[in-house]
Amino acid sequence: MTKPIIEVKNLKKVYGGREILKNIALTVNEGDTVVIIGPSGTGKSTFLRCLNLLTYPDSGEIWLDGKLINVPGVNQDEVRQHYGMVFQDFLLFNHLTALGNVMIGLTKVKGLNQETAKEKAMKELRHVGMQDHIDQYPGQLSGGQKQRVAIARALAMDPRVILFDEPTSALDPELIGEVLGVMKKLALEGMTMVCVTHEMGFAREVADRIVFMEGGVVVEEGNPNEMFYHPKVQRTKEFLWKITELYASSEKK
Amino acid sequence: MIEFVNFFIKYFPDLYQGALITIRITAVGLGLGFVLGLPAALLRVYGGKYFRWLAVAYVELFRGTPVLVQLFVIYFGLPDLGVTFSRLTAAYIALGLNSGAYQAEYFRGAIQAIGSGQMMAARSLGMNRLRAIRYIILPQALRLVIPSWTNEPISLMKASSVAFLIAVPDLMTKGKLVAARTYDPIASYICVAIIYIVMVFIMTGFVQFVEKKVRVPGFEMEELRV
């Protein structure tokens, strides 16, 4: 069996007096696509940000490639280089072109020279289909295009895992497809991904494992077949029915 | 530290007299500025070519030159042309003209934020421009302008301190006298500074109180910093 890339044990996070994450455990193996679903505001984004230490957990263990990372003495910036992150509101750097956005991690964090960085950046932009827009600024791109550039930016760093935080929630419906398409492609290529999303179609098709999170705990997890058709917990059944109804009707179109 | 407190207590009565004059100058300047600034803004937005040019010239001139120079021109320069003012009057006029230019910009921002649609709607009812301005534009503009306009009294009070250079008996002048008497300029001016900052604090508090009272929810514009 392959060693897990990420192992999370007993994760707790308190925010403003409330226990957002009560006791989370998760294992992510190499090449897995893990999709986290659940009602809004239940800590899914917080959990994702704990994985790359953007939010520091209050207690518990996070292991990356066999190393414990949420302890003092660990270089957090270095840890974050091993993750890629794609945000709901894209968060592209407004003052840089698409190419500039993808290059800056390579030049300023990894210290590569301009030519090497440019080559790598172009490769990833081609990977996501944005090679014709390299000199445009974020303000000139559509939502779907911005998100694809954001994915290229994350890919350029050669991360071990890419974290997706509701990557399509801020997109117009017609643009969601182009982003999901890229994500599907990455999953098929063997990229390790942890995605928080409401896109059930994507979850069903692409996920290796689906994790249902609510109230700061993992309610149930399993492969798509188990989760969608034979859920063990009543709450899981309820949630998936409601969501699937909502999305099934829009999928029919 | 104790010495300083004693110092402050000893000379406060003198400084206090100056502070009263400062407040008076600020109030008069503010009022004069309002009377000049509002029409200037209206001329700038609604006036014909010549009036608009006049308003722009006024505003650019008084915002583009130091208030101290304006003061000197009025107090020292005008007598040359036959017009003489007392120190205090010169201060009132200079600060009033200066404040008017800044207030004009605040009002202009508010009037433009209201939008031409309001004027259009008013005129479609048959109102002439003057009526529209009086009953539709101004009531809205004056409310909208409050958050940014309230920067002006504070600005003005600080600006009034330059009047000490023409020996108007305001807070700064009194401070200078105390400094000359005590040969301790730093302590004297720190006292002056403290009194100014207290006055500014009080004014700010008052202004925030007024803002809260007058606020209409949903009817706000981005605060203009002039």
């Binding site: 790359n52 953007l54 910036d77 270095e78 974050r80 280089q81 993750y83 890629g84 992150m85 945000f87 509101d89 968060l91 592209l92 750097f93 407004n94 003052h95 800056i104 991690g105 300023k108 964090v109 600024y137 303000g139 000139q140 994350a154 760093m157 | 650019e60 001139l61 583009g64 030159t65 130091p66 208030v67 101290l68 120079v69 304006q70 000197f72 021109v73 020292f76 320069g77 005008l78 007598p79 040359d80 042309l81 504070i154 600080k158 301190s161 330059v162 000490f164 250079l165 700064m172 300029p185 730093i186 001016y189 002056v192 500074a193 100014y196 900052i197 500014v200 604090f201 910093r225 002039v226």
Partner: protein, 216 residues
């Protein structure tokens, strides 16, 4: 006669420009650094920066100028010109702190988060992501502050520095033509603020980020 007055006062322009040439960059550097402390420093330092800005903006510039001048001239023995210029820089930094703070905050916390997600340290993120955007956004407000500094330079008159206004006064006293003398001074200041405004407008156009979207 008029020409004599003009040239004499004009010779003060060099001094005025020196004062501004010192006060402006020093104030800028101080202002940006302090704004970074204000936004990214811990509670303590951020609070201190806030107090600093409140004091600098709550006290009349002349008063601050005198206090700082006497402190500086007393301890370090600077010339009135230098002491005056440095004092103006310190006063202006209080306002610039607020200008850049507003600009940084309008860029939004998301940009910092995205930068850190790439593995940038806070310092790198500030240098390559935050500041390039914030400085551009700040140009219009900063241009107001530049005008303020130009006008405030007239206050060093009170320190005896032989700049434009002091020269104008001398002319006014010696030629009994106060209106012309002070009028010329006013025009000179106007030209300076006007040109500065134009230059900064150009700068803004040149460095504009296409279709920038800001958080309110």
């Amino acid at each position: 006669m008029f020409i004599n007055i003009l040239f004499y006062i004009l010779s003060g322009a060099g001094i005025t420009l020196s004062v501004i040439a010192i006060a402006l960059p020093v104030g800028l550097v101080l202002g940006v650094l302090l704004s970074l402390v204000r936004v990214y420093g811990g509670k303590l330092f951020s609070g201190l920066a806030a107090v600093y800005s409140t004091i600098m903006r709550g006290i009349p510039h002349v008063v601050l100028l005198f206090i700082l001048f006497f402190v500086l001239a007393g301890t370090i023995n600077l010339s009135p010109l230098l002491a005056g210029a440095v004092s103006l820089a310190i006063i202006s930094s209080g306002y610039q702190l607020e200008i850049f703070r507003g600009a940084i905050q309008s860029i939004g916390g998301g940009q910092m988060m995205a930068a850190r997600a790439l593995g940038m340290t806070k310092l790198k993120a500030i240098r390559y992501i935050i500041l390039p955007q914030a400085l551009r956004v700040a140009i219009p407000s900063w241009s107001n502050e530049v005008a303020s500094i130009i006008k405030d330079s007239s206050l060093v008159y009170a320190l005896g520095v032989p700049e434009i206004l002091r020269r104008a006064q001398f002319m006014s006293a010696s030629t009994y033509q106060p209106f012309i003398a002070y009028g010329i001074a006013a025009v000179l200041y106007f030209i300076m603020t006007f040109l500065a405004g134009r230059l900064l407008d150009k700068l803004e156009t040149k460095t504009k980020i296409p279709c920038l979207q800001l958080e309110k």
